[in-house]
């Protein structure tokens, strides 16, 4: 448990080391990166094993950092952060396995990659708002370089748009936090102190500050209508980075909303709650319909991420224990599943067929040429549709139950979202991999030989197995995570805000 902060330090050390190793050989850089990610995952799993769920944050490190304004280097975890830390470990490891084929400036790629991971671990452990913000920024910068240097379609545009949105969002967050600190005469930037300070503010100020902080974070979470960076960014990014972006980075935004915006400003939240819930539901349905008509395979997955993050946001703003626990479960679930989907589309299919146009993919009998990729995509697609047996099902079910308690109408619309998700996922499965299903005998043997692709490599298989294993395990035994999440929501920090209310 006390080793948990080392995930941050090791990731940054690994970044430096792989940069150095990359000067010698690509293989060395890969090995360093994988080793770092695996060790960090190991540490987080050991910590998870020893973790005793409790209400409230359990401090890991707390040392004064800057005297004035009072800022502490304060790391702490609860069941929510534990869930996301384990997710980060899994997504990072799988992402590296799916980036195994990066040949161009390999060392630098993995250096940026691990720096991003280190920042993400940091955010999930920060109990000081300023520290939180620092790690948050650290996570944003490498994204830009990963996309701009190693990306594909429209990469400069995608990278720039993503960076601008992220920085604008974090600017809002910073403004809100500093305002609270100054106006509320806070004794420190610690989340607990800041909460006390925020309570002294007049309701009118709380409403405005909440909007700054929440929309700042929600930008990164892909809340409609601030989501437009997400599909372009995901599509432009190299596979490993898409996996992290959709899998983990979007969770940073949702986590920020849940950890900072809601507990600090319950009054502001109560004011904005109906509007936010509607935005979340519109996002679910709108992004689902957009995904239904995309021609670029990766855009389908990109919009599906926006739709699924809509469920996360809906769970959070429904603001009762049930819905929020579902939202956290959905964060984990979507992190794993989106990673898997991007891996299949970006790495397994695109690197071999060199096209992502669904029309072109339809013309190839892909399920016979890449049976392993087809199998993985079918499983990932089912998981993404919220099929029972995979992690998405308990998550969406819990969100639906919780949302119903807050507002039956929104729950009904979310159920429509489930249906739309099924439609676009099934379309993607059908059009991409099973476009041509006539029997083998109908084809001249030569036509198949023309499309001969390399087999799926071992790193790909390992990464896929890791993620599929995680989604199935949580699908069959959601208690593993819910037993951490539910106690964490009993914390006094959430008492003022998690009372549901009716919309």
């Amino acid at each position: 448990m006390n080793l948990l902060p080392y995930t941050i330090y090791l990731s940054f050390a690994g970044a430096a080391l792989s940069l150095a190793a990359g000067k010698r050989s690509a293989a060395a850089a890969r090995a360093v990166a994988l080793l770092t990610a695996v060790v960090c995952t190991g540490i987080s799993l050991v910590a998870a094993f020893e973790f005793t769920p409790a209400a409230g944050l359990q401090t890991l490190v707390d040392v004064p950092w800057i005297a004035s304004p009072a800022i502490h280097y304060h790391l702490a975890v609860d069941g929510i952060s534990m869930t996301l830390i384990v997710l980060t470990g899994l997504a990072a490891t799988a992402g590296i396995l799916f980036s195994w084929n990066i040949e161009e400036r390999t060392g630098e790629f993995f250096a940026f990659y691990l720096a991003l991971i280190g920042g993400v671990y940091g955010v999930f452990m920060s109990a000081d708002a300023f520290l939180f913000f620092v790690f948050y920024e650290i996570a944003i910068v490498p994204k830009y370089f990963l996309i701009a240097n190693w990306g594909s379609t429209n990469r400069e545009y995608g990278a720039m748009k993503l960076a601008l949105y992220s920085f604008a969002g974090s600017g809002l967050v910073l403004a809100g936090l500093v305002w609270t600190y100054a106006a509320g005469d806070a004794t420190s930037f610690g989340l607990a102190d800041l909460t006390r300070a925020a309570l002294t503010l007049p309701a009118h100020d709380q409403i405005i500050i909440f909007a700054l902080v929440f929309f700042g974070f929600a930008t990164l979470a892909g809340l409609f209508p601030l989501h437009t960076w997400a599909p372009t960014g995901h599509v432009a990014a190299p596979t490993g980075a898409s996996m992290l972006l959709a899998g983990v980075v979007m969770k940073l935004g949702a986590y920020g909303c849940l950890r900072v915006a809601l507990p600090l400003f319950p009054v502001g939240f109560a004011y904005w709650q109906p509007a936010l819930a509607w935005l979340a539901v519109i996002g679910i349905i709108y992004a689902g319909f957009v995904a239904l008509v995309q021609q670029d395979f990766k855009f389908v997955i990109g919009y599906s991420s926006v739709s699924h993050m809509g469920f996360v946001m809906l769970g959070i703003v429904a603001a009762n224990e049930r819905a929020v626990s579902g939202a956290v479960l959905q964060m984990f679930s979507h992190g794993v599943i989106a990673g898997l989907l991007f891996a299949v589309v970006g790495r397994m299919v695109y690197e071999r067929t060199h096209t992502r146009q669904l029309d072109a993919l339809t013309a190839m009998p892909l399920h016979r040429m890449l049976p392993c990729a087809a199998f993985t995509f079918v499983l990932a697609g089912l998981a993404s549709m919220g099929m029972p047996g995979f992690s998405g099902f308990p998550a969406e079910l819990t969100i639906l139950i919780g949302t119903w308690q807050t507002s039956p109408l929104l729950a009904l619309l979310a159920a429509v979202g489930v249906l739309v998700a099924a439609a676009f996922t099934l379309r993607a499965v059908q059009v991409s991999f099973f476009g041509k299903t006539e029997s083998v005998a109908a084809h001249a043997p030569t036509s198949d030989a023309a499309h001969h692709f390399d087999c799926i490599t071992w790193p790909e298989k390992l990464g896929a197995m890791l993620l599929i294993g995680a989604t199935v395990l949580i699908g069959l035994k959601p208690d593993l995570l819910l037993n951490w999440i539910v106690p964490a929501l009993q914390s006094p920090a959430f008492h003022a805000v998690l009372k549901g209310g009716s919309l």
């Binding site: 009904l412 249906l419 208690d479």
Partner: protein, 509 residues
């Protein structure tokens, strides 16, 4: 739970078979076929084991297995068997191997075909045995996946569209059913069918839902109704069915109509009837009209078909609508003083009709498959004629299946429909009167089938048709034999569920 978990074995043995077939890539097609059949037969064998320890006189759940599963949502893994599920398990045990035998000549990846088929079989059994919504829904949804791929990859030219439509329709219904149960859980804290039914019976469910106002409790009922109605299907949610049944490979058509359509009817009896008695009663009249729509329009639509598979598909809509008609009649007439006796008869009729329809529809799809095989893929009524002289054995067996479906006295179909009509007539005479129109049209289209295919001048190439092989006779004869046995001695089945339904009828809501 000290006894052998027979019910879990029933559900999971086919899945183990699927896993074996799925992982052993080097299996020869022949071995894969035999292994598939063997695992498929496990249901029949285990079904008889369950039958031997089943006490029909006890109307409660038997051989119950109960394990805690998701504590955060208070979900228990609970399986149980009563007369209704036992009959459906036996039906599955009969139809599944029959469908695999009918698919014996599938040349394209028989290993994968059988693996998917076994997944489907296990999921159907899970639906029949589950007592908690969460894993009931797991099995319910998972059954779609193998069905989708079997239909899409092994189906006919229009299969892609049919498969997509089939899955989206069903998921469309299920999404709202899921929401309905989420809402029930939000109000009661339980997903357990029996717990919810008890709450419904003592009125506490209504009290708990009262806080939602007037509209939302109705919406919950409609959501659950929609999920089940699409599956059966209830008119007008049936439009996915004819293309799906028509494009599916023969074995899958047999299983879809024989077993999967029963999942919906079973859901009506297991979920809607006990948990939503008041809402069902209130909605009974419009629902009766919808069921009548299925009975009458289904039969007339079948009459208009030239594609034989579509004809049998519409006849399935017609036959299953009788089951729903009886159930809605029960809901409508449950307040009349003499309802008890009619209710027993209607319930027994529903269960018997499910079994009978499974036998006759599967047999008919198999017969159409034989004709397709002999003619090189033709299915139109116009392409045949005079088949009787070329294939006398086939004509005999197919004729029996046709007349069973038509409800000829002496064969099984008659007993089921008689019980159904007796019940419906006693409860809602007007509905019974209109439904006879459907009976008439059913007789018409089945006789048309018989006449156009087996009589008249021989169609081109018909003279060269081979009669049934020994293999095909083995596939068909068990079902045909049962049609006679149940026609003469329906008590064989009825005794399994009669006490259960007598108990239900004694407590009509």
């Amino acid at each position: 739970m000290n006894h052998l978990p027979i019910l879990s074995l029933l559900v999971f043995t086919p899945w183990i078979g699927a896993l074996v077939l799925g992982t052993l890539r080097k299996l020869s097609p022949g071995t894969a076929r035999w292994l598939g059949l063997l695992f498929s037969l496990s249901t029949l064998a285990l079904g008889f084991v369950a039958l031997s320890s089943f006490s029909a006189a006890n109307p409660g759940m038997q051989l119950v297995e109960d394990l805690p599963w998701i504590t955060a949502l208070n979900v228990h893994y609970r399986l149980g068997l009563d007369g209704l599920s036992l009959v459906l398990v036996l039906l599955t045990g009969l139809i599944a191997p029959m469908a695999l035998l009918a698919s014996w000549r599938v040349e394209r990846s028989p290993r994968q075909f059988n693996a998917l088929f076994l997944v489907l079989q296990g999921a159907a059994l899970g639906v029949f045995l589950a007592l908690n919504f969460v894993h009931w829904f797991v099995f319910w949804e998972l059954s779609l996946i193998p069905a989708f791929f079997l239909l899409k990859i092994w189906g006919g030219p229009g299969a892609a569209r049919a498969a997509y439509q089939f899955v989206i329709y069903t998921i469309g219904g299920s999404a709202f059913m899921l929401l309905g149960f989420a809402a029930l859980y939000a109000a009661t804290g339980s997903f357990d069918f029996q717990v919810l039914a008890t709450m419904a019976a003592d009125g506490s469910l209504t009290t708990k839902l009262a806080g939602l106002g007037h509209f939302w409790p109705q919406a919950i009922f409609l959501g659950v109704l929609l999920g089940l109605a699409v599956k059966v299907p209830l008119y007008p949610f049936h439009t996915w069915l004819p293309p799906a049944y028509a494009e599916a490979p023969t074995g899958l058509s047999m299983f879809l109509t024989g077993v999967m359509s029963k999942m919906g009817v079973h859901g009506f009896l297991r979920i809607l009837w006990p948990i939503f008695p008041a809402q069902l009663h209130a909605a009974a009249t419009p629902l009766l009209w919808l069921a009548l729509g299925g009975v009458v329009l289904g039969a007339f639509a079948a009459l208009r078909q030239t594609d034989m598979k579509r004809m049998v598909a519409y006849s399935s809509i017609n036959h299953l609508s009788y089951c729903l008609l009886a159930l809605f009649a029960l809901a409508a007439g449950s307040t009349s003083p003499t309802a008890g006796i009619e209710a027993v008869s209607a319930f027994n009729g529903i269960a018997l009709q499910m079994f009978n329809h499974g036998l006759s529809a599967a047999a008919l799809f198999f017969c159409v498959g034989v004709l397709e095989d002999r003619s090189g893929g033709k299915r139109s009524l116009a392409d045949f004629g005079g088949v009787r002289t070329a294939m006398p054995v086939f004509a005999g067996l197919c004729g029996i299946a046709l007349f069973s479906s038509l409800g000829l006295p002496g064969l099984n179909g008659f007993v089921g429909e008689f019980l159904l009509f007796r019940g419906i007539f006693g409860l809602t005479p007007w509905a019974a009167a209109i439904a006879t129109l459907g009976l008439l049209a059913t007789a018409l289209f089945l006789l048309t089938f018989w006449q156009r295919v087996f009589h008249g001048p021989q169609g081109s190439g018909v003279a060269k048709f081979r009669d049934l092989s020994g293999w095909e006779i083995v596939t068909l004869v068990p079902a045909i034999a049962l049609m006679f046995v149940l026609g003469v001695y329906p008590q064989l089945l009825v005794q399994l569920f009669n006490p259960l339904f007598t108990a239900w009828s004694a407590h009509l809501p």
